[in-house]
Assembly symmetry: D2
Homo-oligomer: 263 residues x 4
């Protein structure tokens, strides 16, 4: 009953996984299964279309089990991103797109202006657009204004595993959001994922933290548990932070050990 | 097979719960069940021995399911703590003790010197001692030298929900430990618990974060998942943190979308 | 000799102060003096032009001592910001502008797209433009591409005093910058200002932290010292952070106290 | 008039410097001068008493300008520390002692129990004792109870330059203190020193951050400024932290630019 709705689609799992950087396809497949994910994102530019007879990434993703979310990783401009989205649609993939417009190779940070423009264009073409953005609350608002079905702020640079460095601004984005907010990039460990969910993120997307872990399927399971834990905590209502201690045991009205031992 | 060993006892669950501050005993009972815990800690000074006919805390803790860990909460001196431990043993409770010697009412921080002395005395009397301490690595060593079966550094003041403020020193304690390290106090949300476990803590102990949550049983479940997630991540091996981005998608040797679309 | 160059202007002080929120003009004047600042920024929309015979903010800012930096605080759109900049020029103020385009009243966060557009327009009109931005490294690059003479990333929301929450991204902006980077907004205490400067910020801009301090002129002096301290540390080269201790005293090749006392 | 009183002594400077790890004595001397310090701490075990004709560390510390604070660095036990303190007194050095009892070579963390015991013994022998401690508020209280003239909690391990990792507990120590609190160890940059002073520390002690900086005398000057900045800010009263933005410019009752331009 606690459903994640992204545009026209609905899911129970709140963990989205990428498909890059695994040691091999078998390990990827096992990790996807352990994670319980229902959405896997695929970089169109990673697909090797030149060897159609060979095993391909897509052969290891069961379309009955997972919804593929094409992404535009590797695109530096509006034009490239739009073209990749069209290519995905032409291949028969679902008509939604994780939009990345990334001119910078070192930190892989997205371009806010180009991302807004590409979002507009792709929505006009009938795509459901999930833009990957820096944790900029105003940009998040403008993307929602033009019809993005989610916003995907980054916690820290892709693959850096630094966690939620942008947390305070992600909190503002969540507070103001009219669509689900998905934290994407920077998650390095389950504690990062749990924290994002506790604060009200609707889902987490990750890749490197699982694919490059020592044991990816076990880490995928850990991430599943952490996302569920964070979601449950969000629904359960955490205690406030306090500067002082709060005794777990009442200090008045109890029988002290003196009276107890005098009994 | 991944067993938590504390002195002579062994457990599968790595989550230890307190029994104070619940709204009522029924909610406590439901929370304990949801948490999967096998150890519950009880403040001897909280027990009301004056109304033996009335329902008591202990009536709601199934001894077949949970091992009771008596604690000395509310004791300010060595003498008080030792006396409470003896009382617990006299009541037939298991002969181990979570040792708290806390002279300070505002922050509920433990006394390092008195804790070391009480640990020595109680070990001589045959107790297995689990001392609650500030995150002081040298004190942790000295407690292990005299035979403590664990050390229980605090993340932040009891009930404050501030999380692992003492994290760097807890890491040193874990690195140098010859016994399991249990993080006790300060955990406010599942992300805190996951983080402690990821760093190699053997278990987490908490009370307020569950008992005072909006929905305690749901939070108890969240904590169970988070502790398991953190433990799995510790075993799986997390990715290193990196200052820079690491592309999830390879940037060389791939067929670019240009060649793909020209096909 | 350690000069701050912003566009066509050069300064020795690296502390820029705002003029809002002081209890009265006298206190503002004393604070400006104590701070050693050479640049004071004035919100054009704050100027009360209806009472030309009355004492005005500008009467308390000695133009021989301070260069006024007009700003567009209170502007929500490109059009408003451009109009305010023109107004400043028409009043004979220096033809540079601290550009703020802020649609959001709660967090006062700037609009990245509108800021880039207004920057372009104002540069075409001959202004030197100092845009106030979220700590978005790609936006910072694009602003430099169109000719901004500095970029002014925010540490945390205006007036919040939360310090440098966006520090990791400010570091990336500094690393990639071709113009001086000025940290603007969020500084609450001298330690925040020192930190920004240690990391290579060229200057700090602040208002609330001084104007709303208990004793503004004393805080202004503190900020002056902190900015100088941080700049000196940047030039002096700080020690690296280390996970372990580094003994201040050598542990080999020294005469031990035993031999010394046996002498 | 803002005097630092430690036991029977009074000082204007609130920066205390160590004398280890400089590249040479000349650089140390220049750094001490630039820092404005009035107290320099010397590790007795570092003194080479075997070459009395050769230039020694003490030749470079003008006793008319600086008060020497002997320390027990390198001592692992109560006995060693007491013996070193006596040796210092026998050499005619001032009868106060920075007490370090450090059994651990990797993190150089102090022993709480041995430190308390050595403090008691040395006070009985007429020393003014300045104990170096982990940031343990209860230990700090007990040391004050037995007569320590200050407590010197560490921010992070000696020489690590990690800053004030123990900040929350240092705040508690300051809040409860009856003597001046001196932050000792871990300071890596002026921002760390400023932060400690802003929170009410009475002074900062450091060594590696200056001695191993690229340019020690310039860093010494930076630290002087930072300590003064932090102290001034403490006296001036910083603004509170706020979750939301606080406009620097009033948003009501001002003449808007529209009316201004219509004039």
């Amino acid at each position: 009953s606690d459903t994640l709705k992204i545009g026209s689609r609905a899911f129970r799992s709140r963990l989205i996984l990428g498909t890059g950087k695994y040691r091999d396809f078998e390990e990827m497949k096992a990790s996807l299964e352990a994670s319980g994910t229902e959405i896997v994102t695929v970089a169109l530019r990673r697909l090797d279309l030149s060897n159609l007879g060979q095993p391909s990434l897509l052969d290891f993703i069961d379309p009955a089990r997972y919804t593929i979310l094409p992404n535009t990783a590797g695109c530096k401009t509006v034009e490239e991103a739009v073209q990749i989205a069209r290519l995905a649609a032409a291949m028969g993939l679902p008509r939604w797109i994780k939009l990345e417009v990334i001119p910078d190779a070192r930190y892989l940070l997205p371009d806010p202006v180009a991302t807004l423009e590409a979002t507009r264009l792709l929505i006009e073409e009938g795509f459901e657009v999930l833009p990957y953005i820096n944790a900029d609350p105003i940009l998040a608002q403008r993307l929602q204004d033009v019809g993005a079905v989610t916003v995907m702020p980054l916690g820290s640079p892709i693959g850096s595993g630094q966690g939620l460095l942008n947390l305070p601004q992600i909190q503002i984005i969540i507070e103001q959001a009219r669509v689900p907010v998905i934290v994407d990039a920077g998650i390095g460990a389950p504690s990062d994922a749990a924290l994002a969910m506790e604060l009200g993120a609707a889902a987490c997307l990750m890749n490197t933290a699982v694919a490059q872990a020592g044991k990816p399927p076990l880490m995928a399971l850990a991430m599943k548990q952490a996302v569920e834990a964070g979601r449950a905590a969000f629904l359960a209502g955490r205690i406030p932070r306090s500067a002082y201690a709060q005794a777990s045991s009442p200090t008045t009205g109890v029988v002290s050990y003196e009276s107890a031992t005098n009994r």
